[in-house]
Symmetry: C2
Subunit: 305 residues, 2 copies
């Protein structure tokens, strides 16, 4: 990312403080969203993965776009929590032995390694169901029709049209490093991009955004989503396990198709920069209100894990 | 069930024709709800289990209660389909090797036996997500607040507060035939009863039922749900694999706690009859409008598979 970037024009915005403050209120909301009840083991398993840290980028994006269009944090918080529940559920299920068979996630044992495969499957199911319940039951001060639109969007994002569809193609492509760039894009726009898009779009729907703004946010999300994945692929090669908090070098070991493999390392970096630029450009018409979203795009470009 | 039962007073109602006609429109709606798209394998896997037949008792109950309170079939059909998607999802995941490890279901191979474990997990996830999307996006002619209430109820029914919680205790009780009647009741009111209750309650919510009617329907569902499970346990002992369309004698083989085991076979049959009687009594105040629900309760009492 160069200094001439459209992304880095507002030097007065303190991204680190912003993210820290947002992460703190989200952690608190997530903790309160899921108190332990009967039977305790399933709540413990759900909480183990839901409260395992991470940057909370998805809920932060949801709150940010709701504010961007004039809504409040309170209006978007149940959906922000639901997005993290959905993200967590997809990680738990993707890590299962029948899928990616991962032992570590966010620096700790994966859910099935800690609680067993049966509980891990059920913890994922429980989080997914609860995400929808939570949005439907807890959202306050928003037009019910808008809440329904958010729920439809969330369902579309998780199902065969989104995360599930992306994972299916990802599994089918395993051991085949020669898949096309088109297939690789499909996998990642569905596995990663769809949920990031849902974050920014649902926040904006809750804030009663115009269709024009929803379309701009959707393009913003497409760009940061693809950049996020390209950088993920790059980090798998260049970062250590300690930096990542998960197994490094897994893609190469699994002979997986990745952007560095298809495009080369330098061209992959350039492509990521280009996507981040395009994302920032989408936010330019929103002036100061768009600064947090620009800063988050930059954060993705510069992340180390 | 004796002839003096409160259930069998309306001899003019032709239950068989009613169920056949309802099943036909539900099969058609389910088929249309989920056309094959990209990537085809996941849609095929979802459709394989969703369209595998069965009595369609859950969607039939949902349509019936919507009509009971003055609503239409059209208002309830998306929720009726969603209930069957949720039911199907719970069967697919319960059949997995890490759970009950079943090879046959409804007379055909279980989903993971046919498509592999990875696809079966994802097909379940896809069906669960789509159920919520479908209700939110497709319900017409109903107050949006009522649709939100239905979605909250569905989520509560699937999650750790319902199906998932019941399955957790069921797995924990495996190999322990000496669990208490209280634990056995907990397992079944959550694994079977919760979804049946959701069927009758959501249909009635969509039809704008009074709270009093919702409470009566909830009690009706509790009774038929528990009766359903007791009869399931009885059939596991008394019916053949051919009659059941799934492995018979599994409970005994797995040394599972069941009602016949805890209460004896005759006392279990008497308990089921008593529950069916109580269910029918709840519907008595509704006169002719309550007849289909009484007849369905009887059907459960008399089922052979």
């Amino acid at each position: 990312m160069t200094d001439q970037s459209t992304c880095v024009q507002n030097l007065t915005f303190d991204l680190e403080s912003y993210l820290q403050a947002r992460k703190a209120i989200i952690e608190k909301a997530l903790d309160q969203s899921l108190p332990i009840a009967e039977p305790p083991v399933i709540y413990e398993a759900m909480r183990y993965s839901l409260l395992a840290g991470g940057k909370r980028l998805r809920p932060i994006l949801c709150l940010a776009t709701c504010e961007l269009v004039g809504g409040t944090i309170e209006m978007a918080m149940p959906t922000a929590c639901a997005l993290e529940m959905i993200h967590t559920m997809s990680l738990i299920h993707d890590d299962l032995p029948a899928m990616d068979n991962d032992d570590y996630r966010r620096g700790q044992l994966t859910n099935h390694k800690k609680y067993g495969e049966d509980i891990a499957i059920l913890a994922g199911d429980g989080l997914l169901a609860y995400a929808f319940e939570y949005v439907a039951a807890q959202t306050q001060g928003v037009n019910p029709s808008s809440v329904l639109r958010v729920i439809a969007k969330l369902g579309h994002t998780v199902g065969a049209t989104g995360l599930v569809g992306g994972q299916v193609l990802d599994l089918a492509s395993e051991g085949n490093p020669d898949i096309s760039l088109e297939t690789l894009n499909y996998i990642h726009t569905h596995k990663t991009g769809a949920l990031l898009e849902a974050c920014v779009v649902t926040g904006a729907i809750l804030g009663e955004a115009s269709e024009e703004t929803l379309a701009a946010l959707s393009r913003y999300a497409y760009n940061i989503g693809l950049a996020f994945q390209i950088i993920d692929d790059i980090l798998d090669i260049t970062a250590t396990q300690e930096e990542l908090g998960k197994t490094a070098g897994k893609d190469v070991e699994a002979d997986k198709a990745t952007y560095p493999r298809l495009l080369g390392l330098e061209a992959s970096k350039a492509k990521a920069d280009e996507l981040i630029e395009a994302a920032c450009a989408e936010m330019s018409p929103y002036g100061d209100a768009g600064v947090p979203l620009k800063a988050i795009a930059q954060l993705i470009a510069n992340r180390k894990n």
